[in-house]
Symmetry: C2
Subunit: 447 residues, 2 copies
């Protein structure tokens, strides 16, 4: 194991200046924060957020930090927790191509709560967020694919380190203190794939934001940690991964930016479903298409598609977000795949249930990349149609345009906070690096 | 994997009545809570607790719950966090023989905070604590020894489930809600062996208490979890252990009590060191013994002794608690092994440093059980002495007497809270099952 890896990370974070960040990395950071605010607005009144907010509000002290899209203000850790939940609740947030990490959900809320409370600038926020997201994705690279395959929800387990990094940068911690923060983060790193499809998923992801922030605050207060919490013999990499690649954490750090492989999603569901939905929407738009003629549908994709989303029996929207069978049926029938298509009501609709039953178990094919998928429609009259999506929309080779991101933001705001005019907030977010006081920005995100 | 394991646990917790608990299990529960209060008093002003209390107090709402041995009252989750840290900070708390779990640290604080806030009885507290500790130890059995050996701090990783169980019982949650609570606990289960010897260890253990409590409170508020968070294909057992034995969780549940294998420690350090210290104290009490004559000391013990405590270079008390070399040197020189012998000052003392340098690397011997150890003293004049401890004090075959436990309590109170008269508190704790209102009990534990 590479001795001193944790300390190298800490040194990088201390040393990094805003001017060191390349223009296109900054631009990506702006898009990530923008997209995260949109998904937070969209998720802000999901039932999971309502319930979590109800119970956690009782253990929050003061009103220092904004809960995006809601009226209450809470303390920093609780606001970070709820904002992470809201960003991620629909699985509509960003996704790092190499690891399937959703980096913004755990990292941005920790940075936002601190930047708001301490009245820091948008540039400081952006800088800290980029560093945190970068470390999150690099740790993810070092434990992929074994870590996720074993059952770790990598967004939460790696995200807590990124949240700690972002908060540490904003707190201007020393190298030693950042090593401690990463030690307390390691002690709290958790999150299981088994919880996906349930509200308990949010508990893992939100805990990463909250506890990463707390790790930095504890380090500031002198709570000491071990020297090698990440690379040590009983440290994060070895304990949570059978074959970690620690060299991937530091290789090219500061010159090669992993955050540039972060993608924005056009559909509110597991990213593995993107090429499947693209293919379904293409199939539906073919001249003369008639869903009533379908006898059977076969989906073929990367083995991860099968591992993650071969889920024929779903009863709720949350499960449907990771169900290829549901995604296929609903997108073919409705011709779109937004929040409404992954609601409880859509899952229960009788036409969707009937078509879902015609979707066969997912076929795994090692030769198909993650951003591609193949769809075979067999018709009752014997004919069939084969559709192939090679680069799913939202993938690195087919990214969402600025206009598409803005439209997604507006639609999410309309879904979650229809009483809020999202246009001024969107404009400020699009220029977040010019914001003088993050507290004023956050004020615009309140109902 | 045994489908329905989580639900079986939940059903057991719902069904259990106080009258179902055998007398000797109740008696053990009383001793565990008593011992835990003692170690909390002793640890209540350790520097780790001071620093954690300083930073966490700012994010605590209201004053519903007592922090043992301190003046401040905080909200339930924060009090649970700090009390778990104080109970465990010296490694002087209880230890389950099969797993080396310290069950009281994560479980009791969650139950105490709830019982105090809701003004429940001592019998309800005792009952909930016993159920939580029992489930903690049984989950530990199911993942031992691979889980700890891999690097998981088993007290924290399993303790969070016990904290959730104890809190669920006090909240009178339904079977379904307890399954949810265990799901949120699974999403937060964490803690690394790499942090032992550092304040970050407390972050893991304390997080288990706090987050187990929060899991139950979230379940009460309707935060749903997956049906099989413990036994599922990506659930706790499989993800954190290469060869789990799920059947050990349920086998004999309610008739065979694992909590009876829980031990109380005579020395404030890693339990693997108990037989080593016994042998050292015996060696020192031999007629004509002279430490100045020692040329070299060899310690032979169970492989876990070597894995856990072969640590020749220590600079602080916290590391010394898991150092065989330090434990040997200080107990031979001082003739005792209490809090003072594991302080920073004791580690730095020049005579201790000199003798520590004469202690060879630990020799591992599969044939030596965990509660035994062998000591070979080689003298400068060529002679040697061999001492063997077969059943360490505090082990199941040589348990601490009630009188010894009471003396330990008094000494810890004197160490941590000299201004508090511990006698009335000790009397109430010794009869905790007769306490009508846990809030009154907790009031006696405040400075």
């Amino acid at each position: 194991m590479e001795q001193g890896l944790t300390r190298e990370i800490a040194a990088f974070v201390v040393r990094s200046r805003f001017d060191d960040i390349p223009e296109r990395v900054l631009a990506h950071g702006v898009r990530a924060i923008f997209n995260g605010f949109g998904t937070a607005l969209g998720g802000s009144r999901d039932e999971a957020i309502e319930r979590l907010s109800g119970v956690l509000g009782a253990y929050s002290s003061g009103a220092a930090a904004t809960v995006i899209g809601r009226s209450e203000r809470l303390d920093m850790p609780t606001a970070a927790f709820l904002n992470a939940a809201a960003i991620n609740v629909f699985d509509f947030d960003d996704t790092h191509a190499g690891t399937i990490i959703h980096p913004t959900a755990p990292v941005a809320p920790a940075a936002l709560a601190l930047a708001e409370t301490r009245r820091l600038t948008g540039a400081e926020l952006l800088h800290a967020f980029i560093l945190g997201a970068e470390i999150t994705c690099r740790l993810g690279n070092a434990v992929s694919p074994g870590h996720y395959n074993r059952g770790w929800h990598i967004t939460a387990t790696c995200g807590i380190f990124g949240a700690a990094v972002a908060a540490s940068k904003l707190l201007k911690l020393s190298e030693e203190q950042i090593v401690w923060a990463l030690g307390s983060a390691a002690a709290q790193s958790s999150g299981l794939v088994e919880t996906l499809g349930f509200m308990a998923k949010s508990v893992g992801v939100s805990g990463a934001a909250r506890n990463g922030l707390m790790s930095a605050l504890m380090a500031e207060a002198g709570v000491e940690g071990p020297p090698c919490p990440i690379e040590g013999p009983r440290g994060f990499l070895r304990v949570t991964c059978d074959a970690p690649k620690p060299q991937l954490v530091l290789e090219g750090l500061g010159t090669h930016w992993e955050i540039l492989r972060n993608m924005f999603k056009p559909y509110p569901c597991g990213v593995v479903l993107n090429p499947v939905i693209d293919a379904c929407l293409a199939a539906r738009s073919a001249p003369g298409f008639d869903a009533a003629r379908i006898a059977r549908i076969t989906v073929r994709g990367n083995p991860l598609l099968k591992a993650r989303a071969d889920r024929p029996d779903v009863t709720r929207g949350r499960e449907a977000q990771v169900s290829a069978q549901h995604a296929v049926a609903v997108s073919i029938l409705r011709g779109s795949a937004g929040a409404a298509e992954f609601s409880d009501a859509a899952v229960r609709a009788s036409d969707v249930r009937a078509l879902r039953a015609k979707v066969a178990p997912v076929e795994a094919d090692e030769s198909i990349p993650l951003d591609a998928a193949e769809l075979v429609l067999t018709f009752v009259d014997g004919g069939n149609a084969i559709l192939r999506e090679d680069h799913a929309s939202g993938s690195p080779d087919n990214p969402m345009s600025d206009a598409a991101l803005r439209a997604k933001f507006a639609a999410l705001a309309q879904h979650g906070t229809p009483e809020l005019d999202p246009a001024p907030l969107a404009e400020r977010l699009w220029h977040v690096h010019d914001v003088g006081d993050v507290a004023e920005l956050m004020d615009m995100a309140r109902r």
